[in-house]
Structure formats: structure tokens, C-alpha cells
Symmetry: D2
Subunit: 265 residues, 4 copies
């Protein structure tokens, strides 16, 4: 599929500071950047980096005063597999070294506190069946409702509240997977057909030697995701890290599918 | 320096389970393994891995029943630098990609909650001077006292309690460094002259293009450390991850310096 | 029913300090103290007080060194009603002034955080039916297991853990009742037939103009309780408040039913 | 002193619900209500109660739809003493029964977690000198800054943040006093000269047989307070408890001193 994406950020910086932007789609075997443009107040102040191992791309901005940045791109994606249901159980010793960290608790996914719950609810299951059960359980136990959680909310808060937004759904599913000895991580993405338009947070679990996508909110088609970054939880994949203080003035995220237009031509 | 180390673990496993052991010293440019031995109930059941990027080495054990494992080694180390005081301020954009994650909050180091404190106490400082101030502040504000914290204690708990053990000291220093925009991580190590003998947790901060050791407890000489692993916090460098349940029967960690013996010969 | 009770406490006090003991059964319309004795190192150092409004009785001790105190009594009780199931809904404005505080969150019962859960699970119910549903829900969701919780555990921790002891069961039920606009409080009591013998924590809810007993653990017969004190949560009804430091050496709580003996005579 | 006060509350209630209002000044030996008026949509729906023991007065409203209520009064007050500095140390056993609960942890004042800090900072002091030291310490360690805390913030959060509003200052001071064995409670009040005009939260400590006022924010003169209610923490003295859901449309609190006007006449 082909998508046109656009991120627009307008912030006020009272004092000069560095900003890390994680909004460019990753360059992966399944995702090609056809074209892209950055518009910033002064082009020379943007520094871009690409991580060769993961294809994740980040940009640094020296920001001061009122700053508007716009990133736009056209991206072509091949759908990523997400039918993990039949994956067999796996042994921890067979996990690659760089997957092990996704078994461990993180800031927003304190999986060490959920081991009892995971054992009680999913103790009899294994592999893909266990992940499918966790995915369904999270969907059953949570209500999508903005305003309940905030940037400090953890998977424990979400479990107590029974409500949250995509990031909270992802954190709870990730924490439960890790508590059940399944590596899991958080993926930030552009999401076609997500309403209202926004960046999306979904989950990846490691089974049968690869990562599989899952969206516990069920709010957007998995084939319509354009992946930005993966990390332990929302702390790792925030679209913006401000090393100083700033005030949000305006921001928007837009995804349009281009296939249908092409089909018309 | 040359050290002889020995770890002895005796645990009871009611049901078969996998155990990840992080007790072998890392193989680094400054640390050479002269010899080493594992004693386990059945040798064939131990699987060992080495991470080529970091030199960290881990072992997996299939455990069942009462299990005694003993790891012993002789290691030669070159002292690692820890006189970071004169390091200049650094920009976030100049940090290597694999250092960025050590700026972010983690399970036991919720640095996002300490930004106000970091700004108030250390806001006027930069680079090595800032880290030196944080190191001194942690030493001043904490009392070394076993029994106050437990495995769920975070840097916030330690800040409230004003007391803890090496892991708590490390977590608070790490969280404050990250809150002050200094990458910081947790290092597990054998520690010569630590009393009573135990594994030790210390801190590494990234300044001027490299990692520097710091021990906020001041309980053991930095030159007597034999490094095992580095990670975001204690969750990443636990010497033992049990994927199931177990009961501790006995354990001990021993470090002896060999130099003086050699000198006698 | 008639019961013989005995509390024996042996503690070591490194420095002189005051101790508040809440172990004497309350004197109420349904509970008569037939006889009682205190044994302390020096009798003159015990000061006893009775609250005329509630009949609760407390004792203060000046403690120093190794101290053994023994309180024993014979008590006659009339069973307290606990068949609240048919109680109708009630209006907040009809609650007595001194009942209102039991609608509010307390240290271990942060009911403000459970309002969403209460609404989702019990929103369609009222009065006694709602309390009965909460009682059953707590019993279904928790496993009685010592060692999971500690003295800092709140109802939120217990909800996450799905396990705890009598005090944790009580806190979760109390928090859910308050979140559902039902006044609820914590009662400490001697509990005949509780195994192993210990003080017990149960719940009282206010419905239809009076307090009703409930025991979410179901571990001891309600008619075998000898009430000591009621309060917002375990903080209010602790059997011992030490205003200083002490080390527990030994303690025991014993309840024997006397009726059967009398019947033999 | 004589004050004119006015509270105006405009809320939207999607469904009918009960509302508890704690906005009427208490009637005490030092505070006389000269006149007062309630304006509500339908006067008959307001039920008012006065607690004979404390003089605290509360009102219940059956609310539905958009509701505006206005309470206004003229009140005459005698200044309450607040020069507690010379009060001697006190023994717990000498505290009245109804003061003991103010030694215990509460929802927002988990004093049990601050005992180590209290001992370290104020361990060598007693009585009024200890309270004076706590008052100064809280003022030194906190910055008054709206927006840092929210309705779930506890004294521990405030200690970590080093910032908050009047309620947070009060909670931290109360928690520290209790941790130091000084009974302390939270008082809600109208506050003359508080800018911007709002209800105020201050502290009362029990020393030498009576309660003494203290304001850790120092934002308003103690002699200009018109007391509404006292309780364990903000949960007990909230000016509004909504037993259902509501949306705030507008609210204001006003205090004017009348003395000077009288002096002119």
C-alpha cells in the first residue's frame, strides 16, 4: 500500500533547547520511503540520523521561540504478518540477545507486578494462544476513553481504571505478555483510518523467531500502519523529546492512502 | 589487577523451569578472562551465550529440584577511568544512537518524575561538574541500610526513605542523571573489598564520548570492580532471572585479589 | 456466646517509648466484659481509657527493655446482624454525621481511584444487593495467601496482586463499597475458629440505619467475633502503635469458646 | 474581624445526583454567623445539617441539569492563636481520644512512609519547636506552583515534585507532623487577601491541649481566615462531594473585610 503522511508541530520555546523528533517512518524490508520533505524555520538546524540496525530515523532540532516544523512523506508498505495464533511455545534460551530486554519490566510496563495476574489468567496457555488470550483480555477489560490517563500512567493504573487510550492499551498488553514470559514491545506508527487522526501506539510480540503486530484497541487496520519506531514502552518511542521546556501551540498528524487515487488514474 | 571470583547458588525448583544467569564477567578491552569453570548438576544443561557487541555473557540453565551451581573464574582487569569531573557539557544530538536509551526513564529509575528536582538542585551545572554534584548529593541524602527497600523499590521510594542498599543508591543517581539530561546506566559487578561480600551495583554515566564509572555508595574501590553487565537498571542486570518459581537455599559471591599472591612468588 | 481471650506480646525496646495497645474488647450493647486482667512488668505504667461514645478501649504503656504484656478476658457476646441483603438503597443526606467519613478514601482504601471499577461492576445495583455483589466479587478475585502484601499495601495493590490476607480483603471491600457510595469501615476482632489463631480484620457497611458485619475472607464465623475497634482502615485499628522503635520477640492471640464447657457443667 | 463571604457554583449534572456542600463557615466559640443566605434553583431541595460537637455545617443538594447555587454570609471572627512555638513536648497518652486519629496516616498524608525523614530532620526537637521546624522546612522545600499536582497527589508526590498548591503544602506538613508524633489536620477556610481569591487549605496541629493554626504557604494572614471544616486531609474537607458526575461551568469564592467599612461609618 502507498500512503501520504504529514506531521505538523507548532511549539513555543521560551529558552533555546534541543528537541528529538521521532516522526520519520522507519526504513525496513517492508517499508520504503518514496519521498520526504522537512520544513523547518531554518533548514540548517535540523540534524537527521538513521540507525542501520533497525532503520529507525530520528531528527534533532535546535529550537527557540515559536517554531513550526512540518514533515511529509510518501511511503510504500508491505503488510506485516499478524496471524500469530498458531505459534508454538518458545524457550527463553532460544531468544536472540537483543530480544531479551523486551522480557523485562520498563517504566510504564512494570510486568514484575503482574506475574500473579498473568499466571492466574493465562497460566494454562502457551505461545500464540497465550498472546491471543492476552489480546482479547485487554480488549475486554478496557474502555477507550481519553482523559482518564496521563503521561505518568502505568499499566497498573490502566488496570485499575479499566480505561485509557492507545498507549495505555499497549502498555497493559505489553506488561501482561512480559509477565507471561513473552517478549513484547511498543511500536509507534501512523495509522490510516484512525479517527480522530493521530499517531498510534500498538504492540509487537516475539514468537516463533519473529515480531508480530497486534493492536489491542482494534481502532485501525494493521495493514494501514506506517511504522516509526519500536521500544520498551512509550518512553522510547515518544514522537518528541524536549530537553528543556515548551508549550504546545498546535499539532496534527495526517495519513492518506494513495492506492485508490492511483487506481482511478 | 587479577582477581579470583566465585559465585555459588543453591536453589530449590518445585517445577522444571528456565533460569537465566548473568554472573560471568564481561569480556571487554579492559577485562580478560584467564580461566573459568562452571559446576552444575548436569553439564549438558547449561547453554552459554556471548554478546559480541558488549562482551556480556549469559548462561541458561534448565533447573529442577534442588540445584547447586558454582561459577568460578580468574580475571585480569585494567582500571576503568572515573575522573569525569572535567568533562564539558554535551549536546543530545551528539550522543550515539545506542546511548540515547539511557536518557529515558526505566522501571526503577522514573527520571521523568525527578526533572523538577534535578533542575532545582543541579540546574546551574553542566557535564562532569553536574554529575559530580549528583554523586555527592546522593551520598549526602542516603544512608546505607539493608532492609528498608525491597525488589519493587524505585528511585522515588529511595528518595522518600533516604536509605537503601547499593542498588537503590545506583537507581537514584541514575534517575537524577537522566532527569538532568546525562545518560546513565546500571552496572553489576564483583567488588573486591566489599563487606559483606556480595555483588555490587554501580553507575556509569556518558560524558565526553565514553562511559565513566561512579559508585554513590563509596563502599568499594572502583579499581577492584569486575564488570558483569550494564543495563537500564537492576531489572536488566539481575544475576538471576527465574522463569518460574524457586526458593533460595544458599548463595555466596566471593572475590579475591591475586596480585599480592603473585607478588610474593 | 461466651469466649475466653488472651493476647500475649513480647517486644524489645532499645529506648524508652510509648505504646498504644488496642486489644481490649469494646464494651457495647452486644458485648459484655465478664472479667479481665492485664499483666505487665510494672502495673503502674499502664494507663487505660474508654471512649464513652463507641465503647472502644485503649491502653498506653511506657515501654523499655524487654517487655512482656498479657491481656486476658472473658467476654459474652450477642450475635450481630449480618443479613443485610434486603436493605434498600439509601440517600447520602440521610447518613448520620459520624458515618459520612466512612464514605471517604483513607490511607489503605483509596476509593477515589476505584470509582470507575465500582460503576462498571456494580453500577446497576443498590443497597444490600450492591454490597452482597461486592462481597462476592472480592471473594472471587482474591486468593488468601500470606507473604504477598506488607504493611504498606493498599487496596490497589491487592487488586493488582489478586491475593492477600484478611486486612487486604477488608481494604479492597471497603474501598469498593465507598467507591460505590456505601459507607464502610474496618473492624478488628478476636475470631473464634480462625486458623491459625490471630486477630482478624473484617468489614462493616452502613445500610438501613445501622452497621452490618461482613467477612470477605469467609475464614471465621461472624458469630464468633469479639469486637475490638472500628476505624477507617487498618491504620486506625492496629492492635499496637509504637511511638519509637521495637523488635518483636513473640506474640500470640487466643480465643476459646466457653459455652460448651458451661453446658457440660 | 468581620467578613462578607460568597461562594458561587455553577455545575452541569447530566443525571440527577446528590451533592454534599461544605461551604458554610463553622459556628464556633471564635466565629459567629451574623447573617447568611442560600440561593438555589429550588430552595426546598437543600437540606442543611450542623454537627453540634464541632459546629461544622454541611448542606445536601439534589442536583440535576444546569445548577447555580450561591451561598453568602457575614461572619465575625476572633483571631485564633498560632504562636505555638513555646509549647512543650507532649505524651501520646495525654491526647484526647478524638485527637488520636490525627496521628494516623490518611489518603493524602501517608505519614507512615515519612517516619525516617521526620526522624532524620526533626528527631532532636520536640513540641512547638519541632512543629516550627517542620513549618519552615516545608516552606523551604516547596515552590507554590499551580498545575504540578492534581486531585490524586499525595504528600509523597509533593515531596518529590518540590511544588504544589495550598492543599499540597498542607498535606506535606500534616504528614511530617504525624510522622513526628504530632497530631495534625487539614482546615478549609475562606482566606481574606488570598490572591487569586479561592478557598484555602491550612494546617492545625495539637499542642499543649489545643489546636493551633499554621499556613505553610504563608499566602494569607491567619487572622483573615474564616474556618469551614477540619478533617484528616483534603478528602474530608472538600467543599463539594458529587455522588455522580458533573461538569464544572463556573465557580468563584469571595471574601471581603467589613471592619474598615464599619470604621468609616
Amino acid at each position: 500500500m502507498r500512503f501520504s503522511i504529514e506531521t505538523r508541530l507548532v511549539y513555543r520555546f521560551a529558552a533555546p533547547c534541543e528537541v528529538l523528533l521521532l516522526v520519520e517512518p522507519a526504513r525496513t524490508g517492508r517499508q520504503r520511503i518514496l519521498s520526504e520533505t522537512w520544513r523547518t524555520p531554518r533548514a540548517g538546524r535540523l540534524a537527521r540520523f538513521e540507525d542501520p540496525a533497525t532503520g529507525q530515523r530520528r531528527a534533532f532540532l535546535d529550537a527557540e521561540g515559536d517554531v513550526e516544523v512540518v514533515y511529509s512523506a510518501e511511503v510504500e508498505t508491505d503488510p506485516e504478518p499478524h496471524d500469530f495464533g498458531a505459534c508454538p511455545a518458545q524457550r527463553v534460551r532460544d531468544l536472540p540477545a537483543d530480544v531479551l530486554e523486551y522480557l523485562r519490566p520498563s517504566r510504564y510496563c512494570p510486568s514484575d507486578r503482574l506475574e500473579r495476574l498473568a499466571r492466574r489468567e493465562f497460566g494454562g496457555l502457551d505461545g500464540g494462544a497465550k498472546v491471543a488470550a492476552i489480546l482479547a483480555w485487554v480488549g475486554d477489560h478496557l474502555t477507550y476513553e481519553p482523559g482518564v490517563s496521563d503521561s505518568a500512567s502505568t499499566a497498573l493504573d490502566t488496570l485499575t481504571d479499566g480505561a485509557g487510550v492507545c498507549r495505555d492499551y499497549a502498555h497493559l498488553m505489553i506488561a501482561l505478555c512480559r509477565a507471561a514470559d513473552i517478549p513484547a514491545r511498543c511500536v509507534s506508527a501512523y495509522a490510516w483510518r484512525l479517527e480522530p487522526p493521530d499517531l498510534h501506539a500498538v504492540v509487537e510480540v516475539w514468537l516463533a523467531g519473529r515480531w508480530w503486530l497486534a493492536d489491542p484497541t482494534g481502532l485501525a487496520p494493521l495493514d494501514g500502519l506506517v511504522r516509526i519506531a519500536a521500544g520498551r514502552d512509550a518512553a522510547d518511542v515518544a514522537f518528541m523529546n524536549i530537553f528543556g521546556n515548551a508549550e504546545l501551540l498546535e499539532q496534527s498528524f495526517r495519513v492518506t492512502r494513495l492506492e485508490s487515487l492511483a487506481a482511478v488514474a
